[in-house]
Subunit: 310 residues, 4 copies
């Protein structure tokens, strides 16, 4: 059996690759960096890769909007795993360069935004040069003609480059910053239910149906299904047309989630199921007695007996 | 085959018997008047009668509260039909008695209350003597020693008694008054779905569950099921313990109603199903596309395909 | 200054008089027993009494339905106090009569229903004679020709009659039974806010407004106002016309309650305010920060500043 | 009096400038193109401009996300007007260049995406070169060394350049595409209420409050206030922290809107009011009787009379 092939939002050394390395076996698998989220996912759709690791929430390298849109349309995909990566930043430079030598810093714009307090306090007056990723900014320093003296990147990049010195660690402004990534494959058998699961759906807002968003939310609320993420995205076609990308607690094999999914499909038939998978934090769902599998089974048995005239 | 046996809230000649006579075949069946609702229903439970006709809403002979409570507890019963009876009142007296001879009138207290405007206008100063039913008051006039000269009753009573004269017709204060009755049998196959049906349930309010009433109502609202009657009754045991008696549009064989019933059972497992039956007014339910049987079938097929990994 | 005058649902010695005696000063006030709830309230409306004590929930002497209907219509009244009376029953007989001598027992029907287990266990085969009240049944024993040998009544009655012996105490089937009474006066300044208050309203269900009941309940829910009692009553005019009698936690002077009242009035303009008064159990309301008086004040100040263009 | 100064998302000739030209007097005012939304708004905050025209929905030049985020934070701003611009595209080239000469086309990425069908059908195999805006792509053609032969831009750009030929008109894939823009000023007196107004708010989702999104939506729904736009945006600080950008029908001077605003402020005290202004389509709001100004006034008068003890 050949090893798995994974695509990811590259380049190598970014936080996305760190997320991919959390997948069992990924260290020995083929890992293919892609220049954007769409390409990473398209290779999975075409069967050239088994799965793609892409950011879904709060990424320092961008790509979140692209991911939300790309998995919401086109050929169906399935999220099979999530990964959380703590976001810490280091400042790197070439050997011999000290803090006082730095006039310009390069990094991805989102990373720059997250280190502004440290930079303002420690390197006041320094200039910023946009980089296409944190890793690309760091790699660029290996070129002697680089028009900047330092880069901000993740520890993984820094550790992988013997040609770079770490001048400062943990320079991010938000102490416990975390980015969430998802591993996306093709439709197939769902990952096993663990009791600490998450289900992701994309629900187009039916435009001819006033109050539809409250009805959509009520499908979850009325079954005691908690939501951990809800984001709207314009569909891009007409003004006022949206879809909602939603993470709900629980697995499609949980009766309360299956019932909520059926309700969503009735209200918005183009609802797309994007997967049920284990939560990275392994926090079990709290299930009220009246939304347990047993309560659903008992209720359906009761209705069946009524319909049979018993 | 022997004819059916029906009990009803008596005595003979009341509006309840008029309701019973609307049932096909009831004119030739055995009709057993009972002195109270509980007895009428108990005979059905014991198998001594096939069904009982009792008032459920706005009765001029009382009994509504007794009906609501009696069908909510004890051995299960099923409503199989409803009947609406227009409520019109006549004033009767013995031959030879005219309006000017009347000093005292007897009738049931509820009937009295509904003819007060006519009496005040046409027989000012007349006294009222309570009767146990409209029919009993009328019958009492046949006794020469009756301590009153006239009675208020329904046209059916008046028509059945050659010994009484009708002095005035249509003397009720509310022109289009109607009482609703139900025919109650033992559990069995449900009446056929007609598209213009009603489903009756009794839902105990779970006391350890704040907001439970809104959750109960939401089981109907979220499936587009309209309610035509909702009444609370104390359970009689503790302060603040209630059950709700509810009529909903639709038949248990309608997917949206079946789904609502399942939801009720989960929230309040002691929910009692009291029957699905044709509406007396034959007004068809309005069903939104997303709550149609087809929408439910499509939604369940979709969820099944997800769970099968397709 | 002359002492206050109170009417109450009589006769003397019932649980209702026990409730009235909890009112400071009532022991020395004039206490007028009335044969029914309507009369007791009418005397207050006419100014012949200062207030009336009547049952509102779970009474062993009946009258609850009459109270709900009487305060919901007619000239406006205000609840100014509530009283809880523990319901315990004693069996009384004339001196010289023992348990083995008892063939028939009289009491109010509701009281009889609540002592059936004890009677079945201790006096099997005994007959029941309906009484118009527990007190009347007990008093009747003083008549030598009484057609029954014992009566079930409350301890207050028994204590007041030297001519009766208590044969058994605490014979009720429900150990902690309690009846709730209300003291009803004419409109005027509201009782002071205590932090542990209750507000009573009557809300007619607007018939031309589907979903109105959920909207009504939402007026409370959306302001975090808990409901301790909700009962529907038919208005008696047309089928399907109801009003709801509701007890809500909090005082009209609480911003969240005042805001809910305004919402009710918009949806159902005939909503009737029946009073804000201290809870008998003195249990303080739990108020979420976003429904506190401070939150309302801050919100209104913010909206005002917007409208002033600041 | 000096003329007004307006900033807008440039460069000149874009759809944003077309939107600005809809503002009375803007044709003669000073119009300052800015390279990004933040700059356009910052100049207003600093008092260097009176107002800024920026895209808020479905822009072909991007900027929408930047606008949503920029008006949600920082020094307060107010939307005072909205403008709708029909989006039509033309293909332009230098004189002498025909369709068959075109090997590469430049335009903004969003515009490219909206003309793909036409391009694939009429210019198969042509290459795409990203441009920073539609106008910049068109202007670039004036340079003889431009590395592309044609550009896609709006009719306004084409009309303004005598050096360019229009090779094809109306080449967009969506026939009735429209982009929505807003004119943003500093806080001050609100625009007059017209009866066909819109109110924009930014509501941070309180994270410690489960069900908060439904509560937020219910503030509008329970007052009959329709929403025409709702979008979530991550706050960027922590996973799962969002704010919602919402357009609601009606003006803050409408009682139902003012009441909804107060409710939002209670649930999410950091709610930001972004303005009430006339709808571009002049479609009047439909107001149910129970959410009219009169209903609110009557409700408040009623509650006041209760609190005064009347």
């Amino acid at each position: 059996m050949s090893a798995a092939t994974y695509t990811f939002l590259g380049p190598e050394g970014t936080f996305t690759e760190a997320a991919l390395l959390q997948v069992p076996g990924a260290a020995d698998a083929q890992r293919v960096p892609c220049t954007n989220v769409n390409t990473a996912l398209e290779r999975v759709r075409q069967g050239e890769a088994d799965a793609a690791m892409v950011p879904i929430e709060n990424s320092v390298e961008g790509g979140v909007t692209a991911t939300l849109d790309a998995i919401a349309t086109g050929q169906e995909l399935r999220i099979v795993r999530e990964a959380l990566v703590p976001i810490t930043f280091v400042l790197v430079a070439r050997p011999g360069v000290g803090l006082s030598d730095i006039k310009r810093i390069s990094t991805h714009g989102h990373a720059w935004a997250q280190c502004r307090l440290w930079v303002d306090a420690n390197l006041p007056g320094v200039d910023y040069m946009p980089g296409s990723s944190t890793a690309a900014a760091a790699m660029g320093l290996l070129d002697e003609d680089a028009p900047y003296e330092a880069a901000i990147c993740g520890p993984l990049v820094a550790a992988g480059q013997s040609g770079l010195n770490v001048l400062a660690e943990d320079i991010g402004d938000v102490p416990d910053a975390v980015t969430r990534f998802i591993l996306v494959g093709r439709p197939g058998a769902l990952p096993e239910r663990t009791g600490a699961d998450k289900t992701t759906v994309v629900v187009p807002l039916p435009e001819d149906h006033p109050g539809a968003l409250m009805e959509i939310l009520d499908q979850f609320a009325s079954r005691g299904v908690n939501l951990s993420r809800i984001e709207s995205r314009p569909t891009g076609q007409y003004l006022g047309h949206y879809f909602f990308s939603i993470d709900a607690d629980g697995h499609a094999a949980d009766s309360r989630v299956a019932d909520a999914l059926a309700g969503l499909h009735r209200i918005s038939p183009a609802t797309r199921f994007l997967g049920s998978y284990a939560r990275a934090d392994m926090q079990p769902a709290v299930v009220a007695p009246h939304t347990s599998d047993a309560a659903f089974a008992s209720a359906h048995a009761w209705v069946d007996s009524i319909l049979k005239g018993q």
